[in-house]
Amino acid sequence: MLRFTIRRLAMLLPVFLAVSLVIFMIIHLVPGDPLEHLIQVGSSPEQRAEMIARYGLDRPLLAQYGTWLAKVVTGDFGDAIVMRQPVANLIAENMPHSLALGGTALVFSTTVGIVTGVLAASFRDSPFDRAVMGFILLGSTLPSFWLALLMILLFAVQFEWFPVSGARSWDALVLPALTIGIGGTALIARVTRAAMVEIASRDFVRVLQAKGVPFWRIQLRHVLQQAMLPVMTILGLRIGWILGGAVTVEYVFARPGLGSLLITGLAQRDYPLVQGCLLMLAIAVMLGTLLGDLAQAALDPRLREAMGVQ
């Protein structure tokens, strides 16, 4: 398992290089002189010269990328132009909020999604199953920012159960996590239900039934165990979507976080800030996908072997 982990980590390196190159290229692809995107309006010639030296703007692109990457790896993203402080500080302030939100939403969607999926598959075609199918359709199609606004209207304004916005206390986490969680839950429930239904029709299940093994023991000990494989595959593929949901939802709840920071940066055209946020979000997605792969490999020895043989 350790060797598998190291291998998968090593495979991330080229991905990281490619993604960071695209993000680095942003300031060169935006129309206009890159220097103008990195510096405050009205800077003195000395400041401009310092900036050119700092980013190596007079050197070839690839050398500039090297300089930039070397700084980024040590956590130096430059200074945010509008907020006038190091991007690294802003990221450090906002990142814990995003991690808390993404993590809570992920745990919520996985547990509730699997439980709902198992129940729906076990009571197939019952009113409960039909209700779950309806929820899956709604949960996977409704825009998350609209759901977030409805949550605010209902639970924060109407009932006053939770704060409308911000991240001052733990209960401010509930509505945003729930909003992201609904989409994730719908996805996990759909896959769990489909996998459970498919596996329950296999021969070994009929043998278990014939031997008189109790229904729930078959469902939980045998069918669910097998159904977890496709669920983990999808979770690994879609973990980025669940984490990416945080970008939208943070903004609606005016929660501090990488997503809110990114949207602010985009609106202000603050390119060092945008680059820093995009890179951190991309890393989060990559690590999330890695986590999904590892969970899958932990469950399925065949995957580990396939990797070991290669």
Binding site: V22, L149, V191
Partner: protein
Amino acid sequence: MSRPSLAARIARSPRGALCALFLAALVLCAIFAPWIAPYDYAAQKLAMANTPPSAAHWLGTDEFGRDLLSRLIQGARTSLSVSVLSIALSMMLGATLGAAAGYFGGLFDKVVTVVVDLTWSFPEILLALILIAILGPGLHSTAIAIAIAYLAQFTRLTRSQVLALQGELFVDAAVTAGARPARVLFLHLLPNAMTPVIVAGMLATGDAIVLEATLGFFGLGAQPPIPSWGGMMSSGTAQIFIAPWIIIFPGLVIATTVIAINLFGDALIEALDIRRPLRDG
């Protein structure tokens, strides 16, 4: 005996037929927006700001006293045209890339596959935001960003379709008859590979409507005074406590549209008798 037409087979499911009717009505609304809308979408009447739904303004007015229904109808034009056009663009590019990669193989196929796999694990919203960072906010950049965000999906699907068809007799027959590679690819392989791609495009249009609305909601899409469904909600958030209808109705329209597209897609899949092309497949 001839098979009943596709339309007849879709109409067999009442749900699919209902969704098709709704979508058709919506498209007509978008096309004839200026003639259907009861008011001018940009006409401000500050004395009438934030009035709840009434006989004069069926869905109420926004913070500038503009008629919400008229803005929703005009917004359908923006949101639908951006989503449909960007998915069409994405589908054409993706199908060409994927078909060529699958048919010619070799280094070109390797490069395409690597790039597709690279973008695969990233959520569309993140890809779209990277592109908006480069192109700057606006309607055109939103369309391009959506097109590129979904490119990997269509490339991947078409490539696998073409690969699956490669061993078929009709392909060998065309090659034996002396058809050049481009002719085999575009006249024989692609038409047979396109059905699932078109269905995937139809379903992706629903996702694109949500993505377009999200970008609009962030203030990165259509710029005022042009109404878009997402943009309307963006300005409505400041009014959420006094005029919740400004955000409720556009959201309801988006939700209904996307659900209708999905259910119609399901009916279409059943009528065509193919497997649902899943993103997470």
